[in-house]
């Protein structure tokens, strides 16, 4: 008895308790809902069976039905564009800003800190602000574009099928920018200064130093930023109700918002669950790629 108690105080038992607590937490709050979701995607769900766990097995019927939805391919295309364009924008502009603020001019760290505002703000609020900026008749963006002479016509960002998706992309880039910049700044700061000095003496110009020192040394940071960016973008929800509600005619609808519409507007929970499982598989795939890419990490 006292052996067990001792091992719980310091020994294997203690380790098990610590790991166990975390595992219980994870299983209850992430594992169970996930499993429930997957199970639901293989079941027939309607209003009457909503409350019960055991429902008629549906096989892949839900998956077939989702793919056969007329808007499926449009939403898939939108999701890919949304994810790719948002991540590219967040990453490239974030990296540029991180490099800019790494230059140590007076006030650099203060101004960098101010960028956090975008990260702290709730997505719905950001969506609200961008809704004003992007408004067709009184929006600031249109006023600027017209003032600069870039366009004559009034662009209805949120209701023009050609622009509606991009309206959300722009807002999402702004929302994720600070997070990207911050993580990349930390990665940049971790590269020892004397490496750059050595490279400079070895004859590398600024571009070569970036290409041969900065990028390879940032590999794991970049991997983390991109995978977190992918997850964050796929999970992005708040901006859609605030800006376009997926419309017009699903031209700005993406998988995450579509799943929500299925479940909570059309009450087709089986299809909603199915779409989430499909997204989950995609994220899982990306995570595996990321984990594999950091396995050979080099940091001296």
């Amino acid at each position: 008895m006292s052996r067990i108690f001792n091992s719980m105080r310091d020994g294997k038992g203690f380790d098990l308790i610590l790991v166990g607590a975390a595992m219980v937490f994870l299983l209850a709050l992430a594992g169970l809902p996930l499993v429930y979701n997957v199970v639901m995607s293989f079941q027939q769900v309607d209003m009457f069976t909503l409350g019960s766990l055991v429902r008629p097995f549906a096989g892949f019927a839900n998956y077939v039905a989702v793919v056969q939805q007329p808007e499926f391919w449009l939403v898939t295309k939108n999701t890919l564009i949304f994810v790719f364009a948002s991540m590219a924008g967040q990453f490239i502009i974030g990296f540029a800003l991180a490099l800019f603020f790494a230059q140590n001019f007076p006030g650099a760290s203060t101004i960098r800190g101010l960028f956090l505002v975008s990260w702290v703000m709730p997505g719905l609020v950001v969506g609200g602000i961008w809704s004003f900026i992007l408004a067709g008749d009184y929006g600031v963006l249109n006023a600027i574009l017209k003032g600069l002479g870039l366009t004559q016509a009034t662009i209805f960002w949120k209701s023009d099928p050609n622009f509606s998706l991009w309206a959300v992309v722009i807002a999402n880039i702004w929302l994720g920018l600070a997070f990207n910049m911050l993580l990349l700044s930390v990665g940049l700061a971790a590269i020892p200064r004397d490496l750059y000095e050595a490279a400079e003496l070895d004859g590398a110009n600024a571009f070569q130093r970036f290409w041969t020192i900065t990028l390879p040394m940032m590999r794991s940071t970049i991997g983390a930023v991109l995978s977190l960016g992918l997850i964050g973008t796929l999970q992005q929800f708040d901006l859609f109700p605030a800006l376009t509600e997926g419309g017009p005619a699903n031209t700005s609808n993406v998988a995450g918002y579509w799943a929500w519409q299925m479940s909570f507007q059309l009450y087709d929970f089986a299809k909603g669950a199915t779409i989430s499982v499909m997204m989950f598989v995609l994220v899982l795939f990306a995570s595996v790629v990321y984990v594999r890419s950091t396995r050979h990490e080099v940091r001296g």
Binding site: D194, L195, E197, L201, G300
Partner: protein, 355 residues
């Protein structure tokens, strides 16, 4: 002999802090110059100014006859070995060595060929495929050296390259660097705060203090004729003993203010009653027979390393004496010391300059 690096009236300010003050130095082609001085005296700043990693506030710097004002480090054709080695952690030893060649468009086969040659001279042949994190401190040091050698630069700049190694390896690498320097016919500037390193490796030693060059010359010149108390105390190990004193009535002796009053003969004439600081090197103080001794002092500590005996006297200020003979002296005994008049250094107590 041509001048390879020429510094004239260099000043460097960090904001309000004046790090280098009117530094002028001319470094001969093929010479090995050591910059020594206590921590914070501006050695690294001077070296980094030569490399172009720091911009000088005023003055001119020439490398191989060309003025370097506004020339970026990568166009100066100098190589630097950093104290931290600054190896590229994501590259193998071979890639580290060939980095500069690849940047300059040398083709792969030729670069590998050169890397193999350099690896052979630095003893790295078996390690070419390893990453820096898989090397010992000494091996990393060699990679840093190899990376500098492979470029055949106009000058090598070393910033305390051996300070992260253990004592035995340091002594070994000291010789190796000097041999390499001679073989390559290179021009080297070597920063160290270890005066023994400077004395043993360099042809020309530059002693710095608070951003100023205090004295420069060959190692023996600095040892024999230090121009100030600072240089005298810095060069030589163990450090020179300093005792306050007054010139005696005959003008050719000095009375030491130690353990009462004891007198030492001088080899020159000075004004009677003048206050001085007397500098006595431990290795110049000789334990003598009682009859011919000039100083009789009580002993505090006797330490022997087998080949050397270190005697510390029980006086204020205490004196250190180094003898190569074995001594039959113990703590509490008295010891009789002499010193040849030509070995007595005198310094002015206010200016601290040599008299």
């Amino acid at each position: 002999m041509t001048t390879q690096i020429e510094l004239s009236h260099i000043d460097k300010h960090y904001g309000v802090f004046h790090a280098l003050k009117d530094v002028s130095l001319s470094i001969e082609k093929g010479s090995f110059v050591a910059l020594v001085g206590p921590s914070g005296c501006g050695k690294s700043t001077l070296l980094r100014s030569i490399a172009g990693l720091e911009t000088i506030t005023s003055g001119t710097l020439k490398i191989a006859g060309e003025t370097m004002t506004g020339v970026p480090p990568r166009k100066r054709d100098v190589a630097m070995v950093f104290q931290s080695y600054a190896l590229y952690p994501h590259m193998t030893v071979e890639e580290n060595l060939t980095y500069s060649l690849r940047l300059h468009g040398v083709n792969k086969a030729e670069a590998r060929q050169k890397a193999a040659e350099v690896a052979a001279t630095t003893g790295l042949s078996a390690l070419l495929k390893r990453y820096p994190r898989e090397l010992s401190g000494g091996q990393r040091q060699r990679v840093a050296m190899g990376r500098a050698i492979i470029r055949n630069p106009k000058a090598f700049l070393f910033d305390e390259p051996l300070s992260n190694l253990d004592a035995a390896l340091r002594v070994h690498m000291r010789k190796e660097i000097r041999t390499l320097h001679d073989r390559l016919g290179a021009t080297s500037v070597y920063v160290t705060h270890d005066q023994i390193e400077a004395m043993t490796m360099a042809d020309h030693v530059v002693v710095m203090r608070d951003g100023v060059i205090e004295q420069q010359g060959s190692p023996l010149e600095l040892y024999d004729h230090p121009i100030s108390k600072f240089v005298a105390g810095f060069i030589g190990s163990p450090a020179m003993n300093f005792v306050p004193g007054t010139i005696g009535a005959d003008s050719r002796s000095v009375n030491l203010e130690i353990n009462g009053s004891l007198s030492l003969p001088l080899n020159r004439t000075l004004d009677t009653g003048r206050k001085v600081i007397v500098g006595l090197r431990p290795e110049h103080l000789v334990v003598a027979d009682p009859g011919m001794a000039t100083l009789r002092l009580p002993v505090a500590v006797v330490e022997s390393t087998g080949s050397m005996t270190y005697v510390t006297t029980n006086t204020t200020p205490e004196l250190t004496v180094v003898e190569t003979r074995r001594m039959n002296i113990r703590a509490g005994d008295s010891v009789d010391l002499t010193i040849a008049p030509e070995h007595v250094h005198l310094f002015d107590p206010t200016t601290e300059q040599a008299i």
